[in-house]
């Protein structure tokens, strides 16, 4: 590569690299640096005092700081796992339904499914908090019609997190259905025609053609779904405030409480660093798993 070519490539890349550096890398590095400091978010960075790994010892310790963080980490993991485990199969199912060319109303169904994704979370939270109301909520009334007693939904530590997951599934599934449809359209119809001629059933076509060829789309969907789920904040802040008994206290909400409400910037940064590392490990593991499958 000639020197002139390198120089012009550098000049062209410089604006993007500078912007990414200023707005993404610097804040990330700053967060990592702050995680080793004792620092109040209300004071200048110059007031930060180096304390080594003390913040990390605190968040994994046995005091209330550590207990609350570990609880929030587990809640976030459960929320993420449940959300992904429900959203991905549902999105494929809805995608297959919408993609069927021999069934009418596919466009309408696609629009209806995607519309939930466009509703602002504040409206979703307001409506769903009433739907879940233990005494006068429509969900319990509907369950009553089929002889099932009232459920506590958001009022019990056993069901509150799952209730928030259901709300998330309702809102996000339309978006992931659109991704699944995009993946399905990439699969050549000739493969299905050949399989039909060979006597393969619909189930066999799904198992041996659709799923393997949808793998890349599903990997992308899984990564996006995980990142979205890990960042859950609004329904918790608007409906449950992390309760009851901390059962819906997810990491983003907890970091906001520690870092902003209590101004414990060092501790909050240590928690954010752990969240970031966990996310990196999970996404890398997912890619490694898929690459191995591809090699096989």
């Amino acid at each position: 590569m000639s020197k002139g070519y390198r120089a012009s490539a550098g000049i062209m890349l410089a604006p993007a690299v500078t912007l990414i550096g200023a707005f993404i890398l610097v804040p990330m590095l700053l967060t990592v640096w702050l995680s080793f400091q004792d620092w109040s978010t209300q004071t200048p960075f110059s007031a930060a005092r180096f304390i080594g790994l003390a913040n990390f010892q605190d968040i994994f310790g046995s005091t209330s700081v550590g207990r609350d963080f570990k609880g929030a980490l587990v809640n976030t993991a459960i929320y993420t796992a449940l959300s992904v485990a429900i959203i991905l199969p549902l999105s494929v199912l809805f995608g297959l339904l919408v993609h069927q060319r021999d069934v009418g109303g596919g466009t309408l169904l696609r629009t209806v499914l995607f519309s939930t994704y466009m509703v602002p979370m504040i409206a979703v939270a307001l409506v769903w908090s009433k739907l879940y109301s233990p005494s006068e909520g429509p969900f319990n009334q509907m369950l009553g019609f089929i002889g099932i007693g009232p459920q506590p939904w958001l009022s019990s530590p056993r069901s509150a997190l799952v209730s928030i997951v259901l709300l998330n599934v309702w809102q996000q599934v339309g978006y992931f259905t659109v991704l699944a449809i995009a993946g399905l359209t990439q699969i050549p119809g000739s493969l299905y025609e050949a399989a039909t001629l060979d006597g393969a059933s619909r189930a066999e076509q799904f198992r041996f053609i659709t799923l393997p060829l949808l793998r890349r789309t599903l990997l992308f969907s899984a990564v996006i779904a995980i990142i979205n789920a890990v960042q859950v904040f609004e329904p918790v802040a608007l409906i449950t405030q992390g309760g009851p008994v901390g059962s819906t206290n997810v990491l983003t909400y907890h970091i906001r409480r520690v870092g902003i409400e209590r101004a414990q910037g060092g501790l909050g940064s240590a928690m954010a660093v752990m969240l970031m590392l966990t996310l990196i490990v999970v996404v890398c593991a997912l890619f490694a798993f898929m690459n191995r499958k591809d090699d096989e």
Partner: protein
Amino acid sequence: MSLAWTSKLALAAGLAFVPGWASAAAVNISYLTHWSPETVALLESAAKDYAKTNPDVSVTVRAVPFGDLLTTLRSQGGSAEGPTIGGIYDLWLPELVRDKLVAPAPDAVAAEVKSAWPAGVVSAASVGGAPYGIPNEIDVYALNYNKDLFKQAGIAAAPKTWDEFRAAAKKLTNKDAGQQGFGMINSWAAGVVHPFASLLVSNGGELVAGGKPALDSKQAGETFGLYESLIKDGSSDPSMATADANTTGPFLDNFVSGKTGMIIMANWWESALKTGMGAKFSNIATAPIPVGPSGDKPHSISYSWMTVVNAKAGAAEQKAAWDFLAWLNSPKSGKNGASAMSDILMSMGILPSRSSDIEAHKAKLGTEFLAGYVGVLADAKPFPVVAGGQEFSESLQQTLEALQYGQISAKDAEAKAQADAVSILDRAAK
């Protein structure tokens, strides 16, 4: 055009481009609160009255849910563009002062506060002896009960002791009708901790004594035990206790719809009860907190609210803010010798804390609902205002909620609450 005219036009054009020349004395200040739209309208009306004599000062009011108030103050209060005035809970003051987010009251305002408010209220609005805010409301707790449900259960009078309280809660419980005897609250720190603390002080105990947590005392152990027994009796159902970010939700719905017999709550929720119950509000009565086995007489905890001024706001904005607040809280601004602030507070059933306001509102404070609160004011014990107080409250909230849901025994709750409180207050004091 003559040279003189050209000069005049040039001067006029030049002045027109000098920023703010046309309104050099105009000052815009903002007021952050968690009040409802109806109450915000009253505050805006008071600000308009103030503007009649101070046309150069304009006050804009902004409201956020209670759950977002502290976060908004912390995230926006650190800049000159943040709210000039904030209504805050006294528990937050020490840390806001430590972080230099709020300005000390000017000498004239400080002197007025010290002379016109009771000493206990002044101390809650002060750090290191210096007032940082103008106090406005004081809240105490009492037992609220549904007279109709009491009548149906054959209970003649409000319980005076914990034994009577527990017995009444049992009688008022009717699971088939979805009715609980005593309503606890969860998912809201103050809603969980303050009723517990009121029962604790009515049992002769304290949350913090001499700056150290006192949750391992005999009195605290008995209070945790009372909660455990109410849950084991089935007299209190935690699934009916949830609060939301606006401090409303199922716990309030269940009380206003007659599914909760008793609740321990503060005076400020009179307006919420009136809104939710309409004419049925007359079914609600107040009584002092029942006295525990180690207590001498009914007590309640008390806490206060105040208005503070953003330390990062410009000098002109700070001066205008203090002047507006001094007027708003003075006997000159309201009706019949009351302050405009106290008129706003009384519209919500909130007790004003200024001595002259209590005198001016004597007649309304004598109504059946509020009289029960005014009566316990003299024996109220201030909620401890210490650095780390909010985290301490949230930690105790978690423990009490775990106790409500049967995840922990009273004995373990006591040990956990004390250990957590020691660790939190020690760290905050460093």
